[in-house]
């Protein structure tokens, strides 16, 4: 499907996402934030990076932009919206996804390969995919917070886990509530996650040769 990969000033991962999307035969193109027409696309990906320098709070300045009004339209229309890392932060700051992403508990940027358990298979992105995925995280503000932990667990699509899929405290890299690595809206057409699926799409780059990121991105190729 025609997929927009949104670029804000400060976005860094747009080319990586396009490379990965093309592997699954998506019609993907980078679209600048100030010339984004939501009607032209069936899907939109908000890639990682440091939009507006992450100033004030990661994702907050981008959340205020016209472009995000267009993303909200697409979300309401049931189109596919995927927010990766900074993209997740922007979706949360815009209120399109619930919760907040706070600074990591250790107050440091963390780069690391992590396993996540797929906790919801009722979304277009996760229908019928593997139970455990290996993907890298790289962030300083990835601690997911929602006051109602029960609700967090219901919305969670991905939770940090050990290689067998067990969600345990010691693999939680940033203090996220319920080990949440990614959530979706109720309908499931909007997903935000901190790990980078585009970086787990090329076997020469992954620690074990897997391409688990493509499992999530595959839906854009339909």
């Amino acid at each position: 499907m025609r997929t927009a990969v949104l670029k804000f000033p400060g976005t860094t991962c747009e080319e990586d996402v396009v490379k990965a999307l093309r592997l699954v035969k998506a019609e993907a193109e980078v679209v600048k934030f100030n010339s984004f027409d939501p009607d032209r696309y069936q899907g939109v990906v908000i890639p990682g990076g440091f939009s507006f320098g992450d100033y004030l709070r990661a994702g907050t300045i981008a959340a205020n932009s016209e472009a995000m009004k267009g993303v909200r339209e697409m979300a309401d229309q049931g189109k596919l919206v995927l927010g990766i890392c900074n993209g997740f932060q922007i979706l949360v700051e815009s209120g399109i996804l619930k919760g907040a992403l706070l600074p990591n508990l250790k107050l440091r940027f963390i780069t690391k390969w992590t396993y996540v358990r797929v906790s919801r298979k009722d979304t277009p992105f996760t229908r019928g995919i593997k139970d455990v995925l290996l993907m890298p995280i790289a962030h300083a503000e990835g601690r997911y917070y929602l006051e109602d932990e029960e609700e967090a667990r219901e919305l969670a699509v991905f939770q940090y886990s050990n290689p067998s899929g067990l969600v345990v405290e010691e693999v939680n890299p940033n203090g996220s509530v319920q080990n949440v690595a990614g959530i979706a809206n109720q309908a499931g057409n909007v997903i935000g996650l901190m790990p980078h699926p585009e970086r787990a799409s090329f076997s020469k780059l992954t620690p074990d040769g897997s391409t688990d990121g493509l499992e999530i991105l595959r839906v854009f190729g339909k």
């Binding site: 507006f52 320098g53 100033y55 004030l56 300045i61 205020n64």
Partner: protein, 89 residues
Amino acid sequence: MYAVELIIVNKDGVRDPEGETIKRFVIEEQYSGIIGEVKAGKYVRFLVEAKSKDEAESLVKRIAEEKRLFNPIVHKIIVRSERVEDGSP
């Protein structure tokens, strides 16, 4: 008991990219002319057992300097306080 607020901002003349970006991308279009400079900084609050406002504020100032809570090359600090009862503001 005193609630002492320590505000750390960049000295005048030292760049503040965060303040500038907030001004340029969030404030500017709507409020230019009304809102001039925007500065961003850090806020740290201490609850101090002291006999007077001055004592409480001097203590926090000293801690800020000794423990390098701010870098005097680039930051300036604003210290203000108010008296509180049993730890609540």
